[in-house]
């Protein structure tokens, strides 16, 4: 694994009025890494991720994503990242093919690129037969996998996944993680937030946010040693219990 940093965050803070959603966080993510971003509800992970994607301006601090400064080069960042939101983000009243064409189109892919990419993607997801059916007719698991592939359509350097496996059955979750591994093995950096502790074990490195701060950072093995827990769930519980703010 090359040691090139693709995400570098320094003392990043986001305040909404009196409320500090993200409090002075600092971390780096290396290229090709699967970086797990954990935290209880309201711990600030989504806010942090939204800042890195350019959906929200930081109050203070520095960050660079894919080698571009968050403040100065937001447009360059946008071209180099993929994003899968917490909510299902494909158009249900469009067909599989129309969705692919649309998202390919807004990333400026040529018709030929879109064709190649979508063929590749449809074979990988075994969606060939459903290409002309409306997305709302697909089962949830397939839709989630398709959302991921659509986020990967323009071969971004980094892909941000915001709780991608929420509400999905265990088998589909396994398949989903296979897709993530494949993407990482091709050199894409994966930045993923999750609630599932078993998924945390799949990550190369994990950060755990509590009350807007990064309280722990390291590989799952390191963290388990550090907190002398037998699994990531144990680590998480020890940290999350300290939290002073609940749902938010």
């Amino acid at each position: 694994m090359s040691a090139e940093k693709v995400i570098s965050v320094k003392e990043l803070t986001k305040r909404f009025g009196d409320f500090t959603a993200v409090d002075n966080i600092t971390f780096d993510v290396k290229q090709g890494e699967i970086f797990g971003f954990l935290g209880a509800n309201g711990a600030g992970k989504t806010t942090a991720m939204r800042m890195l994607c350019g959906l929200s301006f930081p109050t203070s601090g520095e960050a660079s994503v894919a080698g571009f400064d968050l403040y100065k080069n937001a447009d360059a960042i946008k071209r180099n990242i993929g994003y899968m939101s917490q909510k299902f983000s494909l158009y249900e009243d469009l067909t599989v093919r129309e969705n692919i064409r649309f998202y390919g189109g807004i990333y400026g892919l040529t018709d030929r690129e879109i064709k190649e990419k979508s063929d590749e993607m449809l074979t990988q997801l075994k969606l060939g037969e459903q290409v002309n059916s409306l997305v709302k007719s697909l089962p949830l698991g397939w839709r989630q996998k398709m959302s991921f592939s659509v986020a990967m359509l323009h071969s971004p350097k980094i892909v941000f996944l915001d709780e991608p496996t929420g509400g999905v059955d265990p088998i589909t979750r396994r398949e989903f993680w296979t897709l993530i591994y494949e993407a990482a093995s091709r050199g894409t950096t994966v930045f993923v937030t999750t609630h599932y502790m078993d998924e945390a074990e799949y990550c190369d490195r994990v950060s755990i946010m509590v009350d807007g701060r990064v309280d722990a950072l390291g590989s799952p093995t390191e963290l388990k040693e550090q907190f002398s827990a037998k699994d990531m769930g144990g680590v998480f519980l020890q940290l999350a219990r300290k939290a002073t703010r609940s749902d938010g």
Partner: protein, 368 residues
């Protein structure tokens, strides 16, 4: 630019796939024109009246005939006695009763004076007044004919001419109003709903993360509704000319141009709503309460603005539809040229720029 065409295509898919909304969009102008044209009208026509003829002589019969042959009245039935009056009014079968006293003709010929009683149902005061006036006019006409030339040495004759709408047709008044209403609904409500829907669905986030420029997202959203509106403008104008016989007196190009200007105004309003509303229901509610209602109440289409209390008149100036209604009425019905409406057009254009600027600003800050 290519991104942009993909976006517009996608918007068309949304509109096209949603058949129910599509039906409403195209059916609404048709419905409104037909409903306002043929059902909801405040013209007095073929009103049922009751006649109580206690005299039953030549003169009363002649007057009754006159009343019946006018296009305003239909004799519902002849009433037998005073006792029949009350039930006939109460059941709503008649709106006006004409009562001749006994020996009407004798009194008229020998006493030189006879009276006819007119009783109107004043639950709707305007209609009652109109009916009484019409009936009086018919009776006066009869009297004049009976007497031949007036015998007074000095007479003042009033000659009336109803300009721009000689037949006093209600449709002249409401076609411009319906146009404002339909554009309000199609553009403002649909645009705001379609933007808010993307916020609700979460697709807006994904679009905003992509390199597409936000302003293009907004414009791409507006284009399908702009095109739909042009179709609606065309269908309203065609319907009013060929079905309702309301001619376009003024310059057609000017009229269409001004309609398109108003479409842009309303699109901007829709965008403004979408930046405030968090859900589709809220967007719809704001469109209805904040746009549609003032359009109906304060544009002068239902109620004349001049008769409103001063504060309401002031408020009505803020309603874009008021200016649009004024412009369309003047161009379409009166046939005036641009030189007579440039002030109103300027106001409308100013409003459009203002709304557009505010909503684009708001749209941007929302992304942060």
């Amino acid at each position: 630019m290519k991104q942009f065409t993909y976006f517009i295509k996608k918007e068309f898919f949304h509109v096209w796939r949603d058949k129910r909304t599509l039906l409403i969009l195209f059916g609404m102008p048709l419905m409104q024109i037909l409903v306002f044209g043929f059902a909801l009208t405040n013209e007095v026509k073929n009103t049922k009246i009751g006649v109580l003829d206690n005299s039953k002589d030549e003169t009363t019969r002649a007057i009754i005939e006159e009343l019946e042959s006018s296009r305003y009245f239909d004799i519902y039935r002849s009433l037998g006695s005073n006792a029949d009056l009350e039930p006939a009014f109460r059941s709503g079968k008649i709106k006006l009763a004409v009562i001749f006293p006994e020996n009407f003709q004798d009194q008229l010929h020998h006493g030189n004076k006879a009276s006819i009683q007119l009783i109107g149902d004043a639950t709707d005061p305007n209609i009652a007044t109109t009916l009484i006036n019409y009936a009086t006019a018919v009776i006066m006409d009869y009297q004049r004919n009976m007497r031949g030339q007036p015998v007074y040495p000095y007479t003042i004759n009033t000659e009336m001419r109803m300009l721009y709408n000689p037949q006093l047709k209600g449709s002249y008044n409401f076609v411009p109003g319906v146009m404002a209403m339909v554009l309000m609904l199609v553009c403002a409500m649909m645009t705001s709903i379609s933007i808010v829907r993307e916020k609700e669905m979460g697709t807006m986030e994904v679009i905003l993360v992509s390199p597409i420029v936000p302003i293009r997202v907004v414009i791409a959203k507006m284009i399908p509704y702009f095109i739909l509106s042009t179709v609606n403008i065309a269908s309203i104008l065609l319907l009013s000319v060929y079905v309702l016989d309301v001619p376009i007196q003024g310059n057609l190009a000017l009229l269409v141009g001004l309609c398109l200007l108003f479409t842009v105004t309303v699109l901007a309003l829709g965008l403004l709503i979408s930046s405030v509303a968090g859900s589709q229901q809220v967007a719809m509610l704001i469109s209805l309460m904040g746009l549609f209602l003032p359009t109906v109440m304060l544009s002068g289409f239902m109620f004349p603005v001049e008769n409103m209390p001063i504060p309401l008149q002031v408020v009505s100036n803020l309603v874009p539809a008021k200016w649009f209604y004024y412009i369309v009425k003047n161009v379409m019905i009166k046939g005036l040229g641009f030189e007579h409406i440039w002030k109103e057009t300027l106001i409308l254009a100013g409003m459009t720029c203002f709304f557009m600027a505010v909503s684009l600003r708001k749209f941007k800050t929302r992304l942060e």
